[in-house]
């Protein structure tokens, strides 16, 4: 079985400062990991994915995440927050060999302070 834990339910940062959203995972096998973003009244948009290639993954809108197996972490970062980054962010895990089911974390609401 696999699971993800998002350590912060709510993060607030000032515009122009770095963003860090934390995620730890648990998986019996080599996992695939994703970050999805949900803007208000919108669907879930894929930000980036890790699939056992490079451990530092770059995504859309300047976000990136680093897979650290020793720490079972997949934290999401961005050097400089923008007002448009305000949204709910979900860390997601699935098994890396054909198990299609996605397992979601509880989400982190990111607020940007002007």
């Amino acid at each position: 079985a696999q699971s993800v834990t998002q350590l912060d339910s709510h993060v607030s940062v000032s515009e122009g400062t770095p963003v860090l959203l934390r995620c730890n995972y648990s998986s019996s096998y080599s996992p695939s990991l994703f970050w999805y973003v949900q803007h208000p009244n919108k669907g879930l948009q894929l930000l980036l994915k890790y699939t056992s290639a490079a451990t530092l993954v770059k995504g859309i809108n300047g976000f990136e995440a680093e897979f650290k197996k020793s720490e079972t972490s997949f934290h999401l970062t961005k050097p400089s927050a923008h007002m448009s980054d305000a949204a709910e962010y979900f860390c997601v895990v699935t098994l890396n060999f054909g198990n299609e089911k996605l397992t979601f974390g509880t989400g982190t609401r990111l607020t940007i302070i002007p």
Partner: protein, 116 residues
């Protein structure tokens, strides 16, 4: 960019009534999924569908739920006799292939189902 579209955006239904949620997946995708998100809770997997049959379902997906691909473009979720606890946002997703590691799932904007 191709999108997954869901209709309606909001559905209000009396308890005990049947409801059908509709989705049009991305046209060249072969795998289809339903997830739900009860207000304030995490997104939960309901069911995956491939080659006109269910490939996996969760314990939430009981006999009250069914899925169908009635034609070449639509993918539907039916709840036969709705309960108050079925109130949630329902998301449809599709992917090109079943190996999610290489083929990410693309989500629609969701249908908010409210049971009165």
């Amino acid at each position: 960019e191709p999108e997954v579209t869901q209709t309606p955006s909001h559905q209000v239904t009396q308890m005990g009534q049947e409801v059908i949620l509709r989705c049009v997946p991305i046209s060249n995708h072969l795998y289809f999924y339903w997830y739900r998100q009860i207000l304030g809770q995490k997104v939960e997997f309901l069911v995956s569908f491939y080659n006109n049959e269910i490939s996996e379902k969760s314990e939430i997906f009981d006999d009250q739920f069914s899925v169908e691909r009635p034609d070449g473009s639509n993918f539907t979720l039916k709840i036969r006799s709705t309960k108050l606890e079925d109130s949630a946002m329902y998301f449809c997703a599709s992917s090109e292939g079943g190996r999610v590691s290489n083929q990410p799932q693309h989500f629609g904007d969701g249908t908010r189902l409210s049971i009165l």
